[in-house]
Point group: C2
């Protein structure tokens, strides 16, 4: 336990936090009492020392998908689950996973430089000694390539950055781009670069964003040093996640596979990541115009856009082979409702030793399983079936979870109640995102988990932070004691297949905000680093277990599933307003730009000594007809208000609630049918970040007006089907 | 003339700018036509080649106050004014001006470093060769001192930065502070440091704000390199500007002087400025907590707050002697109203060779004088007396202008119509600040000056920029073709004594926004640098002449002074609303902080592993009574609306308008009676930045509530006196 200096004083100032005795959402008063007693036993069975020991063992050596130590770990976890009393097995998929064979990056010319592309041993950190077993720094699913070209700096490499280049008349056609990590899922960067004609893509960690500009560098402090590299996948996961060769189906041994050259998620251009030390000579080599102020990072040089005078040579070759992804799947069969599944997952593969990512979450999950096992051993049985999953191959592209979800799609569509995800964990405040139907539920859970640094619940502590330093809307929510904000799910962890492909309500949460520093996807994300800087006592690991386990327990044992669509209806109404406003704003902006172009204002305002290109005349933005969707949303609100009331039998309620979210699956998003949920998806040009009402919103953003109009109808129809489903099942 | 690529195309797209033929503000229709014809002649007499030649000559060698080349320059300008036909003389004051004798700064200990404190010769720039004549990098009016202490980083060194230190329990008592330049007048930094108990103060140019973080470094580009140092005064000019020994009176040979030790504007602690290269070892030596995100600058290290483990030795000694400040004052006597003076000024002293600051403005002013002389030689005579002033000793503390204004206070109070100031000039857009009574006037002037890069007036071009990229309020003003925004005058150039001590309406303007880069107060602010990067063709120097000269001509020849108090009344009403809102905000903030303290929220939100101190309980903010001021402002508005109408005789109008602003002088601001204007003053903790209704606003900011209440009455009485003056003189 860390030094908790304020605790004695707090105890005087604050009433000791008392767990509410109100009946739990979804429980009758009597069963609610029993549930609380059970949860107290559960809490007591969580032992942070287990987590320390497991983390040390599992993070001992590199354990990426298909690696020898990954197999060792899978069997370690299998053994643990079985010892806890779970019915566990390893389920294996054959997934395409490229490993680097050749990695060359050199700056040519008089001030030439050959990139080191390696993370040296740090003597105080034993995990850094396994370079021979580790994947070296690279971007998985980069295509092979050998290109030599001038270099252009493209900031974060997002569409709006290329608009800035266009203004200056700078093209990346035939060039290699260099983009800093951040502001999007990394796979978006080579995709956008290729769309603009670049022939290669270099990614780097800028020390302003992720290095000495944030804090002291490892091993002195927790932040990325000049050698530390962010590995990572650059597949086009926004098309579909999982194995590139088996979209939509499980990558079992005999699955029908695409040919590699037909897999659309492989990058179009070779892509390689660099640490700061390797990136600096490239940034220095850039000439031409000075980069805009918000493009400049932390190197002690003036950032220029380029092109560089000197050329850069980038040569990459990979071994393209199928490897085994080993998911460890462990069940406690439901005693009353065995065909209703509560699924809980966290991945176990890391890019290297992966102590924080993913093992800090994995060991919290194992703690939960152990404590559940303890409850079973002392007489408890879950009503519903509980499925604990330790996923493999999350890092390259959510491989293990996606293939498992695809392989069991029919069964999951029938039985899936909810999917609860965690990943990396830190110290501090509860943070969550998920399906609105679970917002009331997770708020209640957070209200009953004790924060280890204060005498408060993690909900109360989150509200204290919002009151002390939050934005106005967060402050208001905290003052009103409203349910916590639950952001929409984009992508970046294993919930994707469940919510976006199968329509199973999902949650994703963890703790953070007080631990600072990251070695994200580097060799230095190690046991030594994690226990020095992130959660030294595993106090928040234990808290994560008490949160995740409590959510599982309640979902498994509730008489009536604690689902609530009021927030959902309100949230969809908010999204509708956003897309209507977005269209109006686009129209107003286009009209204003055209006016300022036509009357010469933009020319008059420009510096005639600069080579700025004025914007092209903007196409007119039509008035989209939102009527169908407006009507559907109004009906939804009414149906929820009249239908979701006490009185239904548990059986009817449970089946309706279990299957309701499935009604929100449409025909698939335009151009990427794997994503079927009409309310939320990862953005095509954000990746991690969610786009809500994605079919409509992205069509508007891309100025595809007739597509936007037809998507309005698709979404309206889907929401209407959802409303009819609730209305028919629950009356109202 | 620079490459003006857009001009041909613009000529097609835009109606050729035609100067309005509406009667000019203050002129009868006939005299208005004559005036416009005169201005066309004036414009034609402005020659940018003159400016280039004068700039090259005047910036040839270092010319700080009291220097040999400063004397040469004074005689050069005297000769020019006389050759133009002005009645010119040099007026001399004896001012206390310290020059460095000893400058030592060393970091002690194992990683010791001795600061170079010098700007080396750049072979491509001849001006950098005169180190033997130049003032070395130093801060004028630092006291002598020899201190050895640990170092603490204080960001910009402003009161709110010390609040951040307090939160962390870090004291600067007995320490040497290091503060980056920026965000305030530099003299505020040692003042605040001393108030917090520091024993020494080091200022430095952070490369993020003023170096490679902004653009390419000199001589490759226009930005400050690692050796370039910002010299500058650190006197407490917010108490009074001018000679430290003669506050309120002219520093003539026989003036009664304070003893040096009684001069309150000398710093309390020794203070020295550094370039980036000398600062880096000091920043590296800091240990302890990582500095907050917005404190971090452009060095490639993690910024820590300190204290440093190693100590720093700072030793400074100065030669404290009186030197001669030589103002060059040149008059054209008014033919009809010789006792109404239109005053135009720009300083001539530089910290070193001072090409941009101040000579770019000085040569524009000389161009005006030459063109006015040309008009005189071809038969014109000004109605009112025109006084052109080339000030000395502006850099150390507005010495020349302040002493002249103090020495001639009685005459100026009688005769002063307006003071028009310029200083450094660049390329781009018209920017101005000044007395609201001149807002309508200067808008009209800007509408009649042609921008050299477009076919537009500088007013139209400014509006084009506001329409293209301005904030919403600027956009609205441009759309409505409202009068230009005229910011309140704070301090930082020679208008201060005129507006703030004598109550003479003032304007300050120049061009900028397209030229980028600065060598502010360094050796490298040279002819070579200026003509490479700032205004190579002197197109904007000529434009400044056409603006300043046009303003002088119109004020000198108007039948009725083009003054208008409608904006003034509105502006004061805005300021009143601001101080009322400020008090309410302070009250609300204090109440909220106290609530969050009392209920434990702030403690609950804090990271218990950090040493943050919670804020102290806030004192209650009383409800101030603004009634008297509200009534005075309402009356002001009414009086202006009814009184300022056509119909008065010119003589009555002119006298009333000339003397009106004098009515806004009160008894002097609390603690700094030299500043008498009740509407605007430099802020005690901003310096450059204006505080409006300063007596009230600064009392509120300092939480001196009874002072605030009494200042409300002082301001209300002063405004009432102003209203009565207008009402009595103009009727209404």
């Amino acid at each position: 336990m860390g030094p908790i200096r304020f605790l004695p004083l707090l105890a005087v100032l604050l009433p000791v936090h008392s767990i509410s005795q109100e009946p739990l959402f979804g429980f009758e008063p009597d069963s609610s009492k029993a549930e609380r007693a059970l949860e107290a036993k559960f809490d007591a069975a969580i032992n942070p020392q287990d987590q320390r020991a497991w983390l040390q063992k599992l993070s001992l050596r590199p354990h990426h998908v298909g690696s020898p130590y990954g197999l060792v770990n899978a069997h370690t976890m299998l053994g643990l689950y079985r010892s806890f009393g779970f019915d566990a097995h390893i389920e294996t998929f054959q997934v395409m996973f490229p490993k680097p064979k050749t990695r060359v990056l050199e700056l040519l010319g008089a001030n030439g430089y050959k990139a080191g592309l390696a993370e040296p041993v740090i003597t105080s950190d034993p995990s850094s000694r396994y370079a021979n077993e580790a994947l070296p720094p690279y971007n998985a699913y980069s295509k092979d390539g050998d290109v030599t070209a001038q270099l252009v700096y493209v900031n974060y490499g997002l569409p709006k950055d290329y608009e800035e280049l266009d203004k200056r008349g700078i093209s990346v056609k035939g060039k290699i781009v260099i983009a800093r990590y951040g502001a999007s899922w990394r796979g978006v960067k080579p995709k956008v670069a290729a769309e603009h004609g670049a022939v290669g893509c270099i990614l780097f960690s800028d020390p302003h964003d992720d290095g000495y500009g944030q804090g002291d560098m490892y091993p002195d402090g927790p932040w990325r040093n000049g050698y530390s590299v962010q590995r990572g996948s650059v597949s086009e996961m926004t098309l579909y996640p999982g194995d590139p060769l088996t979209p939509g189906i499980g990558a079992t041994a005999n699955a029908k596979r695409l040919r590699l050259q037909d897999a659309k998620t492989i990058t179009k251009i070779p892509t390689l990541p660099l640490g700061a030390k390797d990136a600096l000579p490239l940034i220095k080599a850039l000439t031409g115009e000075v980069a805009p102020a918000d493009w400049r990072g932390g190197f002690p040089v003036t950032y220029h856009i380029g092109p560089s005078k000197a050329k850069v040579h980038l040569k990459l070759a990979f071994v393209w082979k199928l490897v085994e992804a080993r998911d460890v799947v462990a069940k406690l069969k439901g005693s009353e409702l065995p065909n209703e599944w509560v699924i809980r997952g966290n991945h176990h593969d890391g890019w290297v030793c992966g102590a924080e990512d993913p093992l800090s979450g994995q060991v919290a999950l194992l703690s939960e399983a152990k404590a559940l096992g303890h409850l079973v051993k002392t007489g408890w049985k879950p009503k519903r079936t509980i499925v604990y999953c330790s996923w493999d191959g999350e890092e390259p592209g959510l491989l293990g979870s996606t293939e498992w979800a695809e392989a069991h799609a029919d069964e999951l569509s029938q039985k899936g109640v909810a999917y609860i995800n965690t990943d990396s964990n830190g110290r501090g405040f509860f943070g969550s995102e998920g399906s609105p139907v679970l917002r009331k539920f997770i708020t209640e859970v957070a209200g009953d988990v004790r924060d280890p640094e204060t005498s408060l619940s993690v909900l109360a502590r989150l509200r204290a932070r919002d009151l002390a330093t939050g934005a106005p809307d967060a402050k208001k929510r905290a003052t009103d004691k409203a349910d916590i904000e639950l952001g929409a799910l984009g992508s970046g962890s294993d919930y994707s297949a469940f919510i976006q492909h199968l329509g199973i309500p999902a949650l994703d949460f963890g703790y953070g905000g007080e631990s600072t520093g990251t070695q994200y996807h580097s060799t230095y994300d190690s046991f030594t680093w994690f226990t020095r800087f992130i959660d030294p006592t595993f106090a928040y690991g234990a808290t994560l277990s008490r949160t995740g386990g409590r959510a599982v327990l309640r979902l498994a044992d509730a008489e009536k599933l604690p689902f609530d669509h009021h927030h959902f209806a309100d949230t969809v109404a908010d999204y509708l307003k956003e897309v209507v406003d977005l269209t109006d704003k686009e129209r107003k902006d286009a009209e204003e730009t055209n006016k300022l172009l036509a009357d010469g204002t933009l020319k008059a305002a420009a510096d005639p000594t600069k080579h700025y290109h004025l914007p092209a005349k903007q196409a007119e933005v039509p008035k989209l007809k939102f009527d169908a969707l407006t009507a559907a949303v109004a009906r939804l609100k009414k149906v929820v208000e009249t239908a979701e009331k006490p009185g239904q039998t548990p059986a009817s309620w449970n089946e309706t609630m279990r299957l309701a979210e499935r009604q929100l699956l449409g025909p698939g998003l335009p151009g990427r049918p794997w994503y079927r949920h009409v309310i939320t998806a990862p953005g095509e040009y954000t990746g991690y970040g969610a786009k809500t009402l994605p079919g409509i919103r992205e069509a508007i953003e891309a100025r595809k007006w007739s597509l936007a109009q037809s998507q309005i109808q698709v979404v309206a129809d889907t929401i209407d089907r959802f409303s009819s489903f609730l209305e028919t099942r629950l009356g109202g």
